[in-house]
């Protein structure tokens, strides 16, 4: 689906740091998202996802580092960038007294590229009634309306901050279906953060795992899943693990079973593990994205 190769990435963060008082919300994150790809950002609550997204949107300024969006500096050219981005926040604060139609006409005034017909199509697709007031909408309808607002001006970059949190199954599928259809329509870039890791696994080209403000890993999804594996080994009686191979991000010993999650897995590492430790019976398990996520997060906090 990447029909053209743009030289500059859609989003670029270089050593970005943001502090709130004594707390470091975002800690020297460097990230580059190529245009036309779908990037999934996952992390526990409070990991720094929303802060990162707000800096990309120009709603917050970083304390250090540089944020570039669509080739422009996010701090200086906020206005021009916002015209080309569609943003769906986690919590919606649209004017509750407005009718949907009024809200659409209001937003249209700010975007030169607003497409009326696309807007109508989307409203139909989501079965939204333009005469209803925003305060009358259910959570699911509110999220879908926010998506209409974000998509109607045909943005090059779509940013979704936990867009499906609190939505029931049908609303969530409906919403993601809407996002997916626009993905197919052009070489758009999508960044979305989510707690539903299954959504990231099925929709994202690449994924970034963030915890305590640090970016733990940024890889294409398929590559991450195929190169990260958990090795389960039975320890010989009375023995403890001696050394784990390079790239071990999480390990645990339970009774006689020693489990290690390895990134960049190769058979050579497996042999190395066998040689350097007193183990009998070694099994290698493939991982889903949820398992990989857990391993990275637990490993980074030192928990088991």
């Amino acid at each position: 689906m990447i029909n053209e190769i743009r030289v500059e990435p859609a989003i670029e963060l270089i050593n970005v740091t943001k502090r709130f008082g004594a707390q470091t919300a975002v800690d020297e994150i460097t990230l580059s998202i190529p245009a036309g790809t779908v990037f999934g950002l996952i992390g526990p609550n409070g990991a720094g996802k929303s802060t990162t997204i707000r800096m990309i949107m120009g709603l917050t300024r970083p304390d250090a580092g540089c944020v570039r969006v669509l080739g422009m500096d996010a701090g200086r050219d906020t206005h021009r960038i916002k015209r080309r981005i569609g943003y769906v926040p986690e919590l919606h604060y649209m004017y509750r007294w407005m009718r949907l139609g009024e809200a659409l006409r209001f937003s249209a005034a700010f975007y030169p590229t607003w497409d009326r017909r696309l807007c109508e199509t989307l409203m139909d697709q989501f079965s939204l009634d333009a005469r209803k007031r925003i305060k009358q909408l259910s959570k699911g309808m509110l999220a879908k309306f926010a998506l209409v607002l974000a998509l109607a001006h045909r943005p090059e970059l779509l940013i979704l901050d936990e867009p499906t949190s609190g939505l029931d199954l049908f609303a969530r599928e409906d919403f993601l279906d809407g996002v997916l259809r626009t993905m197919c329509d052009g070489s758009r870039t999508v960044l979305f953060s989510s707690h539903t890791i299954a959504d990231v696994q099925r929709l994202a080209d690449s994924v970034g795992i963030i915890n305590h403000g640090r970016l733990l890993v940024h890889r294409p999804v398929d590559e991450l899943l195929s190169t990260t594996k958990t090795v389960h080994a039975v320890l010989a009686d009375g023995c403890l693990p001696q050394s784990a191979p390079l790239g071990a991000i999480w390990e645990r010993v339970q009774r006689r079973e020693w489990s290690v999650t390895l990134t960049d897995f190769t058979p050579a590492k497996l042999d190395q593990l066998r040689e350097q430790n007193a183990v009998e019976g070694v099994e290698v398990a493939d991982l889903g994205l949820e398992d990989v996520f857990k391993a990275f997060v637990l490993g980074s906090t030192g928990r088991c």
Partner: protein, 225 residues
């Protein structure tokens, strides 16, 4: 873009503006109705002039409330329900946002001031040419206080997240300013007592305008949303 913002700010404050219109014109309507009972044409000019004068005082005094509430709500209202965050995510220039709000607030103050001025300078003398223009001084005084209230409310609203707090600041501003001027006059003899009223008017007017301009500039130049 400005049109959309103007529409939005008008709709946001519509209740307040209607309330303001009622307060502004209500007293006059009451006067009209009262005279109607006793016979419109029969009433003497003197009675008319007196009733209009009372109505004008009431209207002027109460309209201060309108100005206070409107200017206090103009920024802080959107921060209280966080709809300001939605606005911040749109590519709206701060200048346009400011202008739309400014038009609503200053427009309202202008309408109020113009109405009162017309009644005092035009209507009442026309009704009863013999009457002493007894309302001139109070008129100018209240108008300058309303500029101060408007400016203080505007400024407070642009930095606070609570319209109530901003309204409080708007109310306190004239009290503070006037007590300072009066205090200075009493302690240091300047401003002199005979022209104290004029001095108060000038200070209120200037501080109100300064507040409008100063906080507006600060708002446009603010870096975080």
């Amino acid at each position: 873009m400005l049109k959309a913002l103007l529409w939005k700010d008008y709709r946001l404050n519509r209740m307040l503006l209607i309330f303001g219109a009622v307060i502004l014109f209500g007293p006059y309507v009451v006067v009209l109705l009262a005279q109607w009972r006793t016979g419109l044409v029969n009433a003497s000019a003197h009675v008319w002039a007196e009733s209009l004068t009372s109505a004008c005082m009431l209207s002027m005094g109460l309209s201060l409330l309108t100005i206070c509430l409107l200017s206090a709500n103009v920024f802080a209202g959107e921060r209280a329900d966080r709809s300001a965050e939605f606005l911040a995510s749109l590519p709206a220039s701060r200048l346009a946002v400011l202008l739309a709000k400014g038009i609503v607030v200053i427009g309202t103050i202008t309408v109020i001031a113009a109405t009162q001025w017309w009644v005092v300078e035009m209507l009442i003398p026309w009704v009863d040419p013999r009457i002493n223009p007894s309302l001139n001084e109070p008129l100018w005084f209240i108008l300058s206080v309303s500029v101060l209230i408007g400016g203080a409310g505007w400024g407070a609203s642009s930095v606070l997240s609570s319209p109530v707090g901003a309204a409080g600041a708007a109310m306190l501003a004239p009290m503070a300013v006037l007590s300072v001027v009066a205090g200075l006059s009493w302690k240091f003899g300047f401003p002199p007592e005979n022209s104290l009223a004029t001095w108060c008017e000038v200070v209120c007017l200037l501080s109100g305008l300064a507040s409008f301009v100063g906080f507006s500039v600060a708002y446009v130049r603010r870096r975080d949303a």
